[in-house]
């Protein structure tokens, strides 16, 4: 009866722990290989290529897909980001305010705009705003509308990010600033917010990636030919050529921007981790 004496020793019958580990890993590889093979064997590659990868159709998209569509996507994204950042900053400060109604209002804003699909916001901005304020034109036409819609959506997320960043700055920083004679507002602007932004640079860049994709919702505002961005551009061309290649090309254009951006975010996160250590 040796196994009662040393319960941690491997028992003689059945697989050893090492064998179990090898078997488990072997099964995982086998499942993966089977899935890849099944996908490759069942997909109709010829038709897929015919529908999605026609070189001549792809070629006729250039240079417009870059000079017009990608340019507009970037423009929409950046303008939405700027509006969202400014508005998000105001809401974050309201959320941290000592005045109750400000905190309350900021909380309501954040809950509403985080809870609604971005698509609905675009429709509201396109339809409801002109109805509610007749005669007022959102400056900048479509560009203004997109900046507003994307800004309204992203402000809710950015406000929470900025608030977290401000609260992550150690309390001693505000105390040191106040003890030097900074007013609360001056201390916030010169000391706290610059440090908060270093902390939240990675999540803010992530927000930029999300906005980049959400800019495709411009589709629902109705745009002129000159205002088309990647998704609309790709879809229009796909329907005129009765082929999906433009969709693939548009998708690749998104990745052209989002993958490097994600890479930058990961780099910043690693660096921030190292800075803490």
């Amino acid at each position: 009866m040796t196994d009662t004496d040393t319960p941690l020793q491997p028992k003689k019958k059945g697989l050893t722990r090492r064998q179990k580990r090898t078997l488990s890993r072997g099964v995982q590889y086998a499942v993966f290989a089977a899935a890849v093979i099944a996908f490759a064997a069942t997909a109709d590659w010829g038709r897929l290529q015919n529908q999605f990868a026609q070189a001549d159709i792809a070629k006729q998209m250039f240079p417009d897909v870059i000079t017009l569509a990608l340019k507009n996507t970037v423009l929409y994204t950046l303008s939405g980001f700027v509006v969202g950042l400014v508005l998000g900053m105001v809401i974050a400060l309201m959320r941290l305010s000592s005045v109750g109604p400000y905190r309350w209002l900021a909380g309501v804003y954040i809950e509403i705009f985080r809870g609604l699909p971005a698509l609905l916001i675009f429709i509201f901005v396109g339809v409801a705003v002109p109805l509610a304020f007749p005669g007022t034109e959102i400056p900048g036409g479509t560009y203004g509308k997109v900046a507003l819609a994307l800004g309204l959506v992203s402000a809710a997320y950015m406000a929470e990010t900025i608030r977290a960043g401000i609260q992550a700055v150690p309390k001693g920083q505000m105390e040191a600033a106040r003890s030097l004679g900074f007013s609360p507002a001056k201390a916030m602007i010169s000391i706290i917010i610059p440090q908060a932004f270093r902390i939240i640079l990675p999540p803010l860049t992530n927000e930029l990636v999300l906005l980049f994709k959400d800019s495709s919702l411009v589709l629902f505002l109705g745009v002129t030919l000159e205002e088309r961005e990647l998704s609309k551009f790709g879809r229009d061309l796909a329907s005129t050529t009765a082929n999906s290649t433009p969709i693939l090309v548009a998708g690749l254009c998104y990745l052209l921007v989002t993958i490097p951006l994600s890479f930058v975010v990961r780099r910043m996160e690693t660096k921030a981790q190292e800075a803490i250590r």
Partner: protein, 264 residues
């Protein structure tokens, strides 16, 4: 005798139900160096923080340079410009270089021009012996160097009073000396200083007066030789014996009337 530089009258401070200060009266004359000692939770840091209103007193008055700090209508930012403060955790601004740590407050708060601020910064860095670190960032400095920069930053504002909140408690033992040397220099130059500290040697050699606090009240107040050398009160003796020879202390029963374990 001229009016005291710092005057505390009937000061009370509570955090919720926890009464940390229970009636403090204290006067510090111009040029005087007063060390405040006492066990942790005795309220000494809170007292210091009430002097520049980082903590709002519950009751009582504080005057600095004749201005009532506790007056609700006082321009507290203006008062604080005259009171330099040094923290246990240094609290340098990590996103700014050493020089910028000194120049930014001068420019934003005192509205000094760039050249004046830079000159004042250089002078004060030289005073604390860190002129060669002017372009370094706080993270690259040792704790002792950071604390000396923090002192220089406070001095650059031209304060009339300096408050020190356990300035050497977060330092490695071999770095304490440099910071104390700077403080000794300030004391010799006639700066009015209120120092919360556990450095008994410093208190003995540099302080004009030592104040012993326990349980939110001042238990003993007198010359260093008297308070540290020949304490009159049992509580002071007990505290000093534990501080000066911690290896010999006995295990103690926690008493329920101990106040404010959560000293800030």
């Amino acid at each position: 005798m001229s009016r005291p530089e710092i005057e505390v009258r009937g000061l009370h401070k509570s955090f919720g139900d926890n009464e940390v200060l229970r009636g403090i009266d204290l006067e510090i004359r111009q040029g005087e160096v007063v060390c405040v000692i006492g066990p942790s939770g005795s309220g000494k840091s809170t007292l210091l923080r009430c002097v520049n209103l980082l903590e709002e007193p519950t009751k009582g008055q504080v005057f600095v340079g004749g201005t009532e700090v506790t007056d609700p209508d006082v321009d507290i930012d203006a008062v604080r410009r005259r009171i330099g403060m040094v923290f246990q955790q240094f609290n340098l601004f990590p996103h700014l270089s050493v020089t910028e740590n000194l120049t930014l407050p001068q420019r934003r708060v005192l509205r000094r021009d760039k050249a004046t601020a830079a000159r004042t910064a250089a002078e004060n860095l030289a005073r604390v012996g860190l002129a060669e670190k002017a372009d370094a960032y706080p993270a690259s400095l040792s704790g002792g160097q950071q604390q000396r920069v923090a002192i220089a930053r406070a001095l650059a504002m031209g304060p009339e009073v300096m408050l020190f909140d356990e300035p050497t408690s977060a330092l490695d033992p071999e770095l304490v000396g440099d910071v104390l040397a700077v403080m000794r220099m300030l004391a010799r130059e006639g700066m009015t200083m209120m120092v919360v500290t556990h450095e008994m040697t410093f208190a003995r050699e540099v302080a004009d007066r030592v104040v012993f606090m326990d349980g939110g009240v001042i238990v003993e107040d007198g010359s260093p030789d008297q308070v540290i050398g020949a304490p009159r009160h049992e509580r002071t003796r007990h505290f000093l014996s534990r501080l000066l020879d911690p290896a010999m202390a006995d295990v103690e029963e926690e008493t329920s009337d101990q106040v404010g374990k959560s000293e800030a």
